[in-house]
Amino acid sequence: MSQQLFSRSWYRVAPLKPRLRSHVQIHRHTYRGEDWYILQDHFTGRHHRFSPEAYQIIGLMNGQLRLDAIWEAACARLGEDMPTQDEVIGLVAQLHHFDLLHTETKPDFVDIERRQSRNRQSRLRQSLRSPMSIVLPLFDPEKMLVRVMPLIRPLLGWFGLTLWLAVVLCGLVLAGIHWQDLTNNLSDRILSLENLALIGLIFPFVKVVHEFGHAFMIKRFGGEVHEMGIMLLVLFPIPYVDASTSLSFRNKYQRMLVGAAGIMVELFLAALAMLVWVQIEPGPVRAIAYNLMLIGGVSTLLFNGNPLIRFDAYYVLTDFLEIPNLGSRSSKYFGYLLQKYLLHHRGVESPATTPGEASWLLAYALASSVYRIFLTIRIILFIAGKFFFLGLVLAFWTAVSMVLFPLSRAFHFLFKDRVMQQKRSRVMTVVVLPLILLVLGLALVPFPLSTLTQGVVWAPDEATIHARANGFVEQILVANGSQVTPNTKILQCQDPELQLRIELLTAELGEYKARYQQSRTQDLSQAAILQEEVSRIQTELTRAQERAKDLIIRAELGGQLVLPEANSLQGQYLHRGVPLGYILTPEHLLIRVLVPQKDIDRVREQTLKTTVRLAERPERELDARIIRQIPAATHHLPSLTLSLEGGGPFALDPNHRDEARVFDRLFQFDLRLVEPLADKINQRVYVRFHHPAEPLIYRWARGLRRIVMRRFDI
């Protein structure tokens, strides 16, 4: 029996005659078609939501009736849903806890003191638990708001809305037109130092205006604002107003407007800034306008407009959906689902009470938890990267409060909760055993480990055929792809100029030889000069002839001839030194592989085996062995095939467009296949370095350490 009608302690409360305090006001709200009662405590600014059943009891607390009379009356009225005595005690205790109740008993000062100190403690604990958002209340803006309100009120009506729509639409249209100008080289413009300083100056102004937007909207609908201050969000000060009074507004659109007012104000500012930005010449004013747009338009929509974090949009969303406390109730609902379906806990009650609520709660629970985890990691990394020591402490604390606390609470629940103790075997089989198996599996079961990278098929230098002289290709003497022996003629080139020159030189040589013969008898000194000339021409001629000989390109090695551009070669003019093709000898072919720095240690120390797959024949895995490794790191890619643009894994450095330079430090390895490779040069090769098998958890720990070290530049 989970609930019993009668309570053992009833005798202690039965004779009390409770009455709500005079500073408590009750409002009736409708959420998803159901009535709820909101108790507004004007003294503390708190609001408490009660069900109609609870209201049946609260409504009878007039200081005249005894609590047992109240209970009996409520039971008679509620019939099937009659509350148990414990529920009534719980309700009264809750009211008392929040100082909403007055009974005729003498005040118990010990109790009052204890409650107060507990309140203080819980507030302190709250800020300790979430060091990323510390609240510092500063002052009560109510009086000022009342004074200023007459000036603002006209703006908060249909006129204001029309004006707002006009300006914002204008701004949007202009932004669309000038999109290119606005977004050109965005990151450089935003993150330059001067601009950051400027943003720092404008930001507080924008946010203060934003908060006043909320405040005036509350005043517009008759609420009061009694607290304004600064919130340290991720150590960054941001102003806030306490908008709790809006919770008492009956109309949900009024509540939504209060929530949305901040964003609306910022968008208005951004639109105004857009108008200014378009009009004026570059200068400080234009820069300010630009940044205003940035803060008011972009950052607002990203942060305040994101319903997954507890900012404005979240409250607007909850009001729109009429699901108060969406965040906490969604996580409760998630817990409920787990308990019900995973642990088969039958007694648990769903926090979703109205139709359609359940799916919203589930969707929000999933989306927000994923986003929260993502955000937490980002915040931790950001903070720890910025302020090293303090950051580490804060990051550690955040990690503890966001990971360890919930985990320990979950375990506490699983083992200490009474119902769970009865379901011990279920808990064990569904939660604990799988967890243990998982951990053991991760920590003990070795998984195959390998490093995967890419390389290219690489011909050694001596296998490359180069054009050895300038000239037009006249004839290809050997068919592409056929086997050649060393010294086989491959290509016949023609250099008409060279031919001419040889003829010229031959003729010249003849001439000079004749002249030499002639002058030998006449003028000895002349003869000596001519002699010189002849030998010069002779040398030149010899050189030209050699070059002419080089026009016939021969194979230096024996093997298969590969001329990649064989078809277009005929008649092409070749410059000296240009690679034309390869002579493939299977035993000469290499695979050139690049290994990123993060993997280099393991590849060097712990490689058991290396296998490769060629891009053209990925179905076959071939064994290879490392024949050469270059100890120094490089930034150069041997082939553009390996660049990101070429389909490879390495990103090119855009600052050096003229060469294949990359950001990462890479290490080069040359592999040779065990069985000879007869394949296309420069084709992509997927290389796998096999390492000893290792449990996953070590691998992850290493990965984490690497990230940390990279982030913090240790």
């Binding site: 005798y11 409360v13 708190r46 849903d81 806890h97 109790d111």
Partner: protein
């Protein structure tokens, strides 16, 4: 924008620990509040914060160091040094010494040297008056008691005499002492036996048991030392609270005295909760801790008989397991969906009371419990047309107690008794909360080590094991586990015949009244003369216990014979091997078994103990693994059987311990919740 979080729930404070001050040596009476009816000093109820909880947890781990701090060897030597000097004094001179010491204790508090002196004087006086002298281990124990400790002494080591050391010393120092014991028999016996010693020390002794008038009680409580039965003490405390009403503070009471002619103080009994010495501490502080003590008045709006009859009839028509399931270990009944639907259908025309869901299902669950969980002669007795509850731990009848929430009335209807009036609670407190209010608390028992942790977390009492004075001469025979209950009874009878023929007295312990009566029938069939001690015969208890040690006597007893009863052996029995104790069924906690075993082999006497149990015993059958045990039984060796026995008992012990801790926390939480009511009980 920020919202103060709306709709906050109630903060929960899970961890709770007590905060007893430890009497420090040198604790002076100036720092101790005076004992009178206006001030009535006691410790405030408090719930420890989580930080305190952690600190307590750590401190709990280092409890064993306490003995080191006491330095018992040095202390005992100090006492023994003083004794020869006192021995030469005349009675008059001794009395002078006591007076001088009393004055010093008043001035300086419990300083080590004064305590040693006091112990030596008490020892000497005891020798002269009672003819008994405290052993060194009793001195050790007495010292521990002054340090807010539960001292674990072997059964039969003379706890009654030990208590005099601490009680008289504290009383000499001017603090009222309550020596709390489990039943009226023990209270009266101890007060009477030790009275001469206290009076020789100049200390008046009072005792409070059931049936005393208010004036007698008041007089007893005014004595420096009061022997009192646990329940009487708590009820007197509650009565005081009711007398005071809301006027709890001393200031209010004083102010009231100014304008009222008759002061309320006159009708108050207790002078505050100063120093309690709890005998059989595990029984009172742990086993009975859960029992709420309730002062009730009659309620005029009782339930009508035909509603209860309808509920019973409806419950009888329900079928397990499709309509409800019973969890025997947890004594817990759960209605299934189908069962709930059936009830709803059936109750359609029963009138408006039956339309409330909670009431309807509540009363049916209670009816099911009354049918399936509460059995005649095991949980209650039928005497003179009335239902009387049997306490599960002491086996005694609790005449004034009744079950709550209609259960009592349902059982009355089930048994065809006249319907008693439903009673309303006027004030209620549990032993846990009550004893936590003592400024100083200490205890003695024969069996505390199993509950060491609980004593620490709930009461802040460390446990100290006192080495026995004389080695225990008890022989423990091997345990027999038999397949069926009837085989068990046969084996028991056989053993009894064997022992009886030797002339040894035999004590047989059973778990329930019904079992004891079953055995009685078997005995009659076998023609064995015997006597029966169970809740039905509680009036003749003392007489039965006194004769249990006679030659060849057979006594069958429920566990009510377990505690404190000293079975004196007839002369000549010692040579035959002393008392033989047979345990026929293991209890919920091993401590209770050990208590029963402790009836033999006391104070160096010989004795033997054996267990004859059966696989059909409730202990096995009520564990969640009962099916498995039944299936595996043929394959189990006796060694595995013993192990299973211990395992089943231990899991039950753990379960009860968890329940108690949880109840304690819930109780604390609940009381905090109820702080608005302005009343604490």
């Amino acid at each position: 924008m920020k919202f103060s979080s709306p709709y906050e729930g109630i903060k929960k404070h899970p961890w709770t620990l007590p905060g007893n001050d430890i009497i420090m040596f040198g604790h002076s009476l100036f720092s101790h509040p005076p004992a009178d009816h206006t001030l009535r000093p006691e410790q405030a109820d408090r719930v420890e914060t989580s930080v305190e909880g952690v600190v307590y947890g750590v401190l709990g781990k280092v409890q064993p160091l306490l003995n080191l701090r006491l330095r018992p060897a040095r202390f005992i030597a100090q006492v023994e040094q003083l004794v020869p000097g006192f021995r030469q004094l005349s009675d008059g001179q001794l009395r002078q010494e006591v007076l001088a010491l009393e004055q010093k204790l008043h001035q300086n508090g419990l300083k080590p040297s004064l305590v040693a002196r006091s112990f030596a004087l008490i020892r000497e006086t005891s020798w002269r008056v009672l003819g008994q002298r405290h052993y060194p281990c009793q001195l050790h124990c007495g010292l521990a008691l002054l340090h807010n400790t539960v001292a674990e002494m072997q059964t039969g080591e003379g706890k009654t005499l030990t208590a005099t050391l601490a009680a008289a010393t504290v009383a000499l120092a001017g603090m009222p002492v309550h020596v709390v014991s489990v039943n009226d028999y023990l209270t009266t016996r101890d007060a009477e036996e030790m009275g001469p010693l206290y009076r020789a020390l100049g200390l008046e002794v009072g005792h409070v048991v059931q049936g005393m008038t208010e004036n007698e009680r008041k007089k007893s409580y005014l004595c420096p030392i009061t022997y009192v039965t646990n329940k009487e003490l708590v009820f007197d405390y509650l009565r005081d609270r009711l007398t005071l009403g809301e006027q709890i503070g001393p200031l209010q009471t004083l102010a009231e005295n100014l304008y009222r002619k008759t002061s309320r103080n006159r009708s108050l009994l207790l002078r505050g909760l100063h120093f309690a010495l709890v005998d059989e501490a595990d029984s009172i502080l742990i086993d009975e801790a859960r029992t709420p003590l309730i002062i009730s008045g009659n309620d005029d709006c009782g339930e009508e008989r035909h509603h209860l009859q309808r509920a019973l009839r409806l419950a009888q028509a329900l079928m397990a397991p499709q309509d409800y399931t019973i969890d025997h270990t947890r004594r817990h009944i759960r209605l299934s969906k189908q069962g709930k639907a059936t009830i709803k259908n059936q109750a359609k025309n029963f009138g408006p009371l039956w339309q409330g869901l909670v009431w309807r299902e509540g009363i049916i669950t209670q009816a099911l419990a009354s049918l399936h969980l509460y059995h005649k002669d095991e949980h209650y007795l039928l005497r003179e047309g009335k239902i009387e509850i049997i306490d599960a731990f002491t086996g005694r009848v609790m005449p004034d107690r009744s079950w709550e929430q209609g259960l009592h009335q349902l059982i009355e209807v089930k048994e065809g008794c006249a319907l008693s009036q439903r009673r309303t609670t006027l004030a209620q407190i549990s032993f846990q909360r009550f004893f936590r209010r003592y400024l100083h608390l200490s205890g003695m028992t024969g069996t505390a080590s199993e509950v060491r942790r609980e004593l620490w977390t709930v009461y802040g009492l460390p446990t100290l094991r006192i080495p026995p004075h004389r080695p225990v001469q008890r022989i423990t025979c091997p345990t027999e586990i038999l397949p069926t209950i009837s085989q068990k009874w046969d084996a028991v009878i056989k053993r009894v015949q064997e022992e009886q023929s030797k002339g040894r007295p035999v004590l047989i312990g059973t778990r329930s009244v019904a079992a004891s009566e079953q055995l009685k029938r078997k005995m009659e069939q076998a023609g064995l003369p015997h006597q029966l001690l169970n809740a039905r015969h509680d009036a003749t208890e003392a007489q039965l216990v006194a004769s249990a040690g006679k030659k060849g006597n057979i006594t069958i007893a429920t566990n009510m014979a377990g505690r404190g009863t000293d079975i004196k052996l007839e002369s000549g029995v010692k040579d035959l091997g002393g008392l033989h104790v047979i345990l026929t069924e293991r209890h919920e906690a091993m401590r209770i078994d050990r208590q029963l075993a402790g009836r033999c082999g006391r104070q160096g006497d010989p004795g033997s103990f054996e267990e004859i149990v059966s696989w059909e015993d409730a202990l096995f059958q009520e564990t969640p693994a009962a099916d498995w045990i039944n299936r595996l039984r043929p394959a189990l060796s006796s060694c595995a059987g013993l192990w299973l026995l211990r395992w089943a008992q231990r899991s039950l012990e753990n379960f009860h311990a968890r329940m108690r801790t949880e109840l304690f926390r819930q109780d604390q939480k609940h009381n905090e919740l109820l702080s608005f009511s302005g009343r604490q009980e």
